[in-house]
C-alpha cells in the first residue's frame, strides 16, 4: 500500500504519466503558471491581507476616503479596520469572513462594479454591531439595548467615517500610497 502510494507520488513528481516528450514543455508551462501566480501575489500585495494593518485596506484606491476619515476620528486610537469590520469571536470565523468579504471586494473592483457610495451589507452590518458591543459593553449596561431593527450606527451614523460619504468624499486626503513595484524604499511612500 505504502509502496504504491510512494510510486504514485514519484510518478507525479516526475510527470511520468505523460509521454516522455511532453514532460519538459509541461514543466516549463507549469513554471510559467506558477511564476504568474507569484507575480499576482506580489503585485496585489496578497500577504498584507493576512495582517491587521489598515494600510492593507487601501491597497486599492476605493477605500481611501474610509481610511482617511477613520484616521481623523477618535476611533483611530482604539480600533483598526479589522476591529470593527471582521468578527472576533473565533479565529476561523474571523478569517472565513475576511476571505469572503475580501474576495467579494476583489471581484467587484475587477469588474469595475463599485457603487459611488458603499454601504455595509446586512452581514457586514451585523458584524459591525457585534463589534460595537464587544468594546462598549460597559456603556451599554446602563441603557436599554438597541431594539428591533436598530443598531448603534442607526443613530451614531457618522462614527467614525463622517457625514458625507462617497468614493469622492475626500479625494485629496493624504493617505499612505503603494510604492512603485520596482523601487520599494523602506518605510512609507509619501503621497
Amino acid at each position: 500500500m505504502t509502496d504504491r502510494l510512494l510510486s504514485l507520488l514519484r510518478a507525479l513528481f516526475a510527470l511520468a504519466f505523460l509521454p516522455a516528450g511532453w514532460r519538459l514543455p509541461t514543466f516549463a508551462l507549469l513554471g510559467v503558471a506558477a511564476g504568474m501566480g507569484l507575480l499576482l501575489v506580489r503585485v496585489s500585495e496578497m500577504p498584507s491581507y493576512l495582517s491587521d494593518d489598515p494600510r492593507a485596506c487601501i491597497n486599492c484606491h476605493i477605500m481611501r476616503p474610509h481610511y482617511s476619515t477613520w484616521e481623523h476620528s477618535s476611533h483611530r486610537q482604539a480600533a483598526t479596520c479589522n476591529d470593527c469590520h471582521v468578527p472576533h469571536d473565533s479565529v476561523i470565523r474571523t478569517y472565513a469572513f475576511k476571505a469572503k468579504d475580501g474576495l467579494r471586494h476583489a471581484a467587484i473592483f475587477t469588474l469595475r462594479g463599485e457603487p459611488q457610495v458603499i454601504r455595509a451589507t446586512p452581514a457586514s452590518a451585523a458584524v459591525i454591531q457585534e463589534n460595537c458591543v464587544r468594546c462598549h459593553e460597559r456603556q451599554l449596561a446602563h441603557t436599554s439595548l438597541p431594539g428591533q431593527g436598530r443598531a448603534c450606527a442607526t443613530c451614531h451614523d457618522h462614527v467614525p467615517h463622517g457625514d458625507a460619504r462617497s468614493l469622492s468624499a475626500t479625494p485629496d486626503a493624504l493617505v499612505p500610497r503603494l510604492a512603485p513595484l520596482l523601487s520599494r524604499p523602506s518605510g512609507d511612500a509619501t503621497p
Binding site: T26, L30, V117, S166, P171
Partner: protein, 447 residues
C-alpha cells in the same frame, strides 16, 4: 517541434531534476518579466497623467473641443442624449402632457401650450427640440418667436451675443439666430476655458441679481454650482427695452421683489404689468410661468443647507481613483446611490419611497388646483356669455389670473414639488383657494 524525436531518445527512467530545473527557470523568468511589464505599465501611466490640456478658445461653442482635455466630463455630458425609462413623475423623454392631462388644454386655451406641451429631454437635445416644437410653428398652430428663445438652447450663444450685442441678439428673429448656432447646451455655457471655473454667461441672471440689489460676482464656488443652472432654469418674460417697442424681446427675470410665487405675482401686477395672453373662455389676463426651478429650490431644505443643484443632479464620481463631476445631468432618482446616498444613510428603496410620497402629494394638489381652475374658467366664461359685465367680472378674472400663476409656478417646474415640498404645498393651497374664490365671486356677480 522536435518533441517526438526527443521522446524516442529519452531513457525509460524519467529524470525529474531536469524538469524541475526548467520549472524553476520558467517561474523566475515569468516573475521577473511580469514584474518588469507591470512596472512599465505603471510608469506609462505617469506620462499619460502629465499630458498637457489642449487649449480651448474663449467662447468655443463646440463641446467636443473641450472634451479632448476633459474626456470624463465630456463623455458623461454626452449621456444627456439618453432617453431612459421615466421616473414616476418625470425623467427624460418626450412625454406628452396634453395627452396625459386634458385639463391642460383648457387651462392654456388660446396660448401655444395648448398646441404642444411635451416633457423636456436632456441637454444634448435642446437645440433639436426647440427647432422642432409646434409651439413656434404657425403651420401647426404655434406662434413665431424672437431669437430670445434660443438664449438657453446652444453653447454657441455666449459667442454670438458677444458678436451681435445682447439687445440685438434678442431682437433678431428665431430663424436668424437659429442659422448661426449649431451646438446644444454644453461646456461654454458654464465654464471659463482657461481656468475651467464656473462663470455666468447669460446676462439675464446677472441683471436679475442686480435688480435684487445683489452682486453675482461675489458668489462662492458652491453658489456657482447652482447659479450656472439658474441662468436658464428660471421664470422669465420678454420685456420691452423702451416703451415704444411694439413687442418685448428682452429676456428678463421677474425677481425684483424676490423669487417666491407671491413676489412674482406682485411684480407682474404692480412693477411691470404683464400679460402673456387673454384666456378666450374666461377673458382673464394670464401669465405663463416657465420652469421656475431655481426659484422653487430656494424655498427648500436643501437650499437652506447650501446643497447645490450640482450636488444632486451632477454628483461627484470617482473612476479609477479620479474624482470628477458627473456631467450626465439627470433626475437624482436615476442615480440615488451617488446623488442621495452621500448624505442620506437609508436604503435606496426608502429614499425613493420618501421622494415619491412628496411627489404624489404634490400631484394630488396639482389635480385639485386644475379641477378648480377649469371650473372657474368655465363659470366666468358662462357668466360673460349670460351678459354679466366686465366690471362685475373683474374680481373673479383677477383671482383666476393669480390662481393659475401660482398653480403654474409648481406645475411648470421640474421635480414635482420635491425642490421645496412645503412651499409647493403652500403655493398650491393658495392656488386652490384663489380659484375657488373666483368661483364664489362669479356666482355672486351673477345674482
Amino acid at each position: 517541434m522536435t518533441t517526438t524525436d526527443h521522446a524516442e531518445q529519452t531513457p525509460r527512467r524519467p529524470r525529474p531534476w531536469v524538469g524541475w530545473a526548467v520549472f524553476a527557470l520558467a517561474l523566475c523568468a515569468t516573475f521577473v518579466l511580469g514584474l518588469l511589464a507591470a512596472s512599465v505599465l505603471e510608469r506609462r501611466r505617469e506620462s499619460a497623467a502629465l499630458l498637457p490640456a489642449a487649449p480651448v478658445a474663449d467662447l468655443e461653442g463646440d463641446s467636443a473641443k473641450w472634451g479632448e482635455s476633459f474626456p470624463r466630463q465630456y463623455e458623461s455630458w454626452r449621456r444627456t442624449a439618453e432617453d431612459g425609462p421615466r421616473t414616476k413623475h418625470g425623467g427624460p423623454g418626450h412625454y406628452d402632457h396634453l395627452a396625459a392631462d386634458p385639463r391642460l388644454k383648457a387651462l392654456f386655451a388660446g396660448y401655444p401650450f395648448e398646441v404642444e406641451y411635451n416633457d423636456e429631454r436632456g441637454h444634448m437635445h435642446a437645440l433639436e427640440d426647440v427647432r422642432g416644437t409646434a409651439r413656434m410653428d404657425p403651420a401647426r398652430g404655434g406662434k413665431p418667436q424672437p431669437g430670445t428663445c434660443l438664449t438657453c438652447k446652444s453653447s454657441d450663444v455666449p459667442g454670438l451675443m458677444a458678436e451681435m450685442g445682447v439687445a440685438e441678439f434678442y431682437k433678431a428673429t428665431f430663424g436668424e439666430v437659429s442659422a448661426k448656432v449649431s451646438h446644444p447646451i454644453g461646456c461654454a455655457d458654464c465654464h471659463d476655458p482657461q481656468t475651467m471655473n464656473l462663470r455666468i454667461t447669460r446676462p439675464a441672471l446677472r441683471e436679475a441679481f442686480a435688480s435684487m440689489g445683489k452682486d453675482i460676482n461675489t458668489a462662492s464656488h458652491q453658489e456657482m454650482r447652482t447659479l450656472v443652472c439658474a441662468q436658464c432654469h428660471a421664470e422669465y418674460y420678454f420685456a420691452k427695452k423702451n416703451p415704444s417697442e411694439e413687442k418685448g424681446t428682452y429676456l428678463t427675470f421677474p425677481w425684483k421683489r424676490g423669487t417666491t410665487a407671491d413676489a412674482m405675482e406682485t411684480y407682474y401686477t404692480r412693477d411691470v404689468p404683464h400679460t402673456d395672453w387673454t384666456h378666450p373662455v374666461s377673458g382673464a389676463a394670464m401669465v405663463k410661468m416657465q420652469h421656475p426651478d431655481y426659484e422653487a429650490y430656494r424655498s427648500g431644505v436643501h437650499a437652506y443647507r447650501d446643497v447645490s443643484c450640482a450636488d444632486c443632479h451632477m454628483p461627484y464620481r470617482s473612476e479609477g481613483g479620479v474624482k470628477f463631476t458627473d456631467h450626465h445631468i439627470q433626475s437624482p432618482l436615476k442615480n440615488i446611490n451617488a446623488a442621495c446616498g452621500t448624505c442620506h444613510r437609508w436604503s435606496e428603496a426608502e429614499i425613493r419611497a420618501r421622494v415619491e410620497t412628496i411627489q404624489d402629494t404634490t400631484r394630488e394638489l396639482l389635480d385639485r388646483a386644475e379641477d378648480a381652475l377649469v371650473a372657474a374658467h368655465n363659470e366666468v366664461g358662462a357668466a360673460a356669455k349670460a351678459g354679466v359685465t366686465a366690471a362685475q367680472l373683474a374680481e373673479s378674472r383677477d383671482l383666476l389670473r393669480r390662481a393659475q400663476l401660482r398653480w403654474d409656478y409648481i406645475a411648470a417646474g421640474n421635480g414635482m414639488g420635491f425642490h421645496a415640498p412645503q412651499e409647493s404645498a403652500r403655493v398650491l393651497a393658495s392656488a386652490i383657494d384663489l380659484a375657488q374664490q373666483a368661483r364664489v365671486s362669479v356666482a355672486k356677480a351673477r345674482k
